[in-house]
């Protein structure tokens, strides 16, 4: 049964809704509308007047090799971040679930990185791997490896992936730990009596029973990698070297605010808006249909 809330004043409910509506309107609808509007114009260099060009911005984008490359970069980046963060979180959760002594301490420590903002995380990793002053790169140098992510695109991609994934592990860890603890102990014990060793149980019992959690995390992490890793990319590589770590979100910023190509940037925003929409639908569809045993 739905709860029917009644107000004495018929205007009060609208009044109470105003703050949220205002925030959504000012920070979401208005910019989104602006983006759609601007994507059909090319402003002059001084921003004094704009020329209507219809879908020209989109046509240009879809023929721009850099933009298409950015799609590929984003796909690769998202897959890597998701794989690393989900995989590492699962491993940590299984280990944290196994230990008995100091379990709470481990769990608390493993949740901490979630409190670090992506930009800060980026700076942390940047300092560690800075080719000149970074501690890790210095040790790598001692081992005979010349680390320089400013020049090497694979190293750059690796670093942003690791930094983004690290920031996300805690979140995934929490879900996996909850998922693991939701598996009845007796089921695991039954499998042990049936003759399954730890890894056999892991693959045949634990992983299948965690699959709803895993699938949920895959979707959520892809969305994260797509849209929330701007801070990491910006602080560590600024999209470089040679745009090899420029993901779509970063390109919107780079083209619009650095390159001053507002029309193209707006068109990219619209494309991203569509992507978010699709991913959100997938996400909601999935959450509704979540498999329950």
């Amino acid at each position: 049964m739905d709860k029917q809330v009644t107000f004495n004043n018929r205007y009060l409910p609208y009044f109470l809704l105003i703050p949220q509506v205002l925030i959504t309107a000012i920070f979401f609808f208005w910019p989104a509308g602006q983006a759609v509007y601007q994507s059909a114009y090319i402003p002059d260099p001084f921003g004094l007047k704009s020329q209507y060009v219809g879908l020209e911005n989109f046509r240009f984008l879809l023929n721009d090799p850099y933009y298409l490359a950015s799609f590929k970069t984003t796909a690769l980046f998202s897959c890597l971040v998701t794989a690393v963060s989900v995989g590492a979180a699962l491993w940590l959760a299984v280990m944290a679930d196994r230990i008995i002594k100091g379990a709470t301490a481990y769990r608390t420590l493993l949740i901490w990185p979630y409190a670090v903002a992506p930009a800060i995380a980026g700076v942390l990793w940047l300092f560690m791997f800075n080719p000149r002053i970074g501690l890790v790169s210095w040790y790598l140098g001692l081992l005979g490896y010349d680390w320089n992510h400013v020049l090497n695109d694979n190293e750059a991609m690796g670093l942003v992936v690791v930094a983004s994934a690290w920031n996300r592990i805690s979140y995934n860890f929490l879900f996996f730990l909850a998922g693991l603890q939701a598996i009845p102990r007796s089921v695991i014990e039954a499998a042990a009596i049936d003759g399954a060793h730890f890894w056999k149980r892991f693959w045949t019992i634990v992983i299948p029973l965690l699959s709803p959690t895993t699938f949920f995390l895959l979707v959520v992490n892809i969305v994260y990698a797509f849209f929330e890793t701007f801070g990491v990319i910006h602080t560590i590589t600024a999209g470089g070297p040679q745009q090899t770590t420029t993901i779509l979100v970063y390109k919107v910023y780079a083209d619009g605010f650095v390159g001053q190509d507002l029309g193209s940037s707006a068109a990219q925003s619209v494309i991203l808006l569509l992507l978010v929409g699709i991913l959100t639908i997938v996400q909601f569809r999935f959450i509704e249909k979540r498999v329950h045993y």
Partner: protein, 366 residues
């Protein structure tokens, strides 16, 4: 086929001792029920046999082979859990075949064994279903099937029927009993339900706070309880306990005093001899509800007042307050006219079947 022997088995969680040394020998093919109230350590004892709990001290042998250090899978046992513990993502067939697949048994033999078990348990039509699509009783059968197909030396049951409704429980109880007799597999069965224990067991272990108070065949335990705990736990309603029945300084009216005197003279000579030897005040007299009967005033052993009655159809239970505000239960055939609540009533005791217990609740053998 296997024997199990427990030698001075103890269990401690940290500094907390929960099982204080259990000794028991289980013969091949025997159905042993471990019964006791919640928290008495019965499940822990079973889990130690299964290898799911570490044995703090003592020794458990299966087929004369020490198993203390063996993993559950190396002990040749199968266990049925209270919540069934089925693999929720697998079909009924896969649930039963899981252990066999791990044991690398050939496919056609797995098929044959699972089908045989399904036939015994009437699960043929459900082999493709997932556990969530089954009723409680069917899930319980699948859990049993999973145990049967592996042909283990020992079955362990951990309160397998307590999640079922009362009617189904009675039915499954019979099925388990029949199945165990048919397969002849040595079984340990944990329950808190004394009716289950009485009906299933070849022998039962009555546990109380980490100790085995008595081990024996159901009727032996019922008729010859070794402690007030056993006498009170086995049997429903429990045995009546009366304290200070023969104390000298009681303020009784003349008819009550006459009744007590009559009881004293009617006691078997061994009992009255023991009563005279021991300090009367610390003795407890135990008598089962069915060994009391209503009678005419001139033959009464006890006089009391009916507090309330429970007509159950075939029998009627009377709760009667006798001297010293002690309440006793009397079991009476259902077709006999019974006094109403508040009435006085006259009780005759089958004195030959009285049990005596000392101040610590231990049985005094006569």
């Amino acid at each position: 086929m296997a024997t199990i022997s427990l030698q001075n088995v103890t269990k401690a969680f940290g500094k907390n001792n929960v099982i204080h040394g259990i000794n028991a020998d289980v013969k091949d093919g025997e159905f042993i029920v471990i019964v006791g109230p919640s928290g008495c350590g019965k499940s822990t004892l079973l889990r130690m046999v299964a290898g799911l709990e570490i044995i703090t001290d003592g020794e458990i042998c299966i087929n004369n082979k020490r198993v203390n250090e063996l993993e559950p899978m190396e002990r040749d046992i199968a266990m049925v859990f209270q919540n069934y513990a089925l693999y929720p993502h697998m079909s009924v067939f896969d649930n039963m075949a899981y252990g066999l697949k791990i044991a690398k048994i050939p496919k056609n033999e797995i098929l044959q064994r699972v089908n045989t078990a399904a036939e015994i348990l009437q699960l043929q039509d459900y082999l493709k279903r997932k556990p969530r699509e089954l009723s409680g009783g069917q899930r319980q059968r699948v859990a049993m099937g999973r145990a049967i197909v592996r042909k283990p030396a020992v079955f362990l049951f951990d309160e397998p029927l307590s999640n079922l409704d009362a009617k189904l429980r009675v039915q499954m109880r019979l099925e388990i009993k029949a199945l165990q007799k048919e397969l002849g597999v040595t079984s340990l069965y944990v329950t808190h339900d004394q009716v289950e224990a009485m009906t299933l067991a070849d022998r039962m272990i009555v546990m109380n706070a980490g100790n085995a108070d008595q081990i024996g065949a159901p009727l032996e335990v019922y008729n010859d309880p070794q402690s007030t705990f056993v006498a009170g736990f086995i049997g429903s309603p429990p045995m009546n306990f009366l304290n200070n029945l023969f104390a000298q300084n009681q303020q009784l009216d003349s008819s009550a005093q006459q009744a007590i005197d009559r009881l004293l003279t009617d006691l078997p000579t061994e009992v009255s001899a023991t009563l005279q030897q021991q300090d009367n005040d610390n003795l407890t007299i135990g008598i089962r509800p069915e060994h009391l009967s209503l009678c005419e005033p001139p033959t009464a052993h006890l006089i009391g007042k009916v507090k309330y009655t429970e007509p159950l159809g075939a029998e009627t239970l009377l709760y009667i307050e006798v001297q010293n505000q002690q309440t006793i239960t009397l079991r009476q055939a259902g077709d006999i006219e019974i006094p109403a609540a508040g009435d006085s009533c006259f009780i005759r005791v089958n004195t030959a079947l009285i049990c005596l217990f000392d101040s610590k609740g231990k049985r005094i053998q006569i």
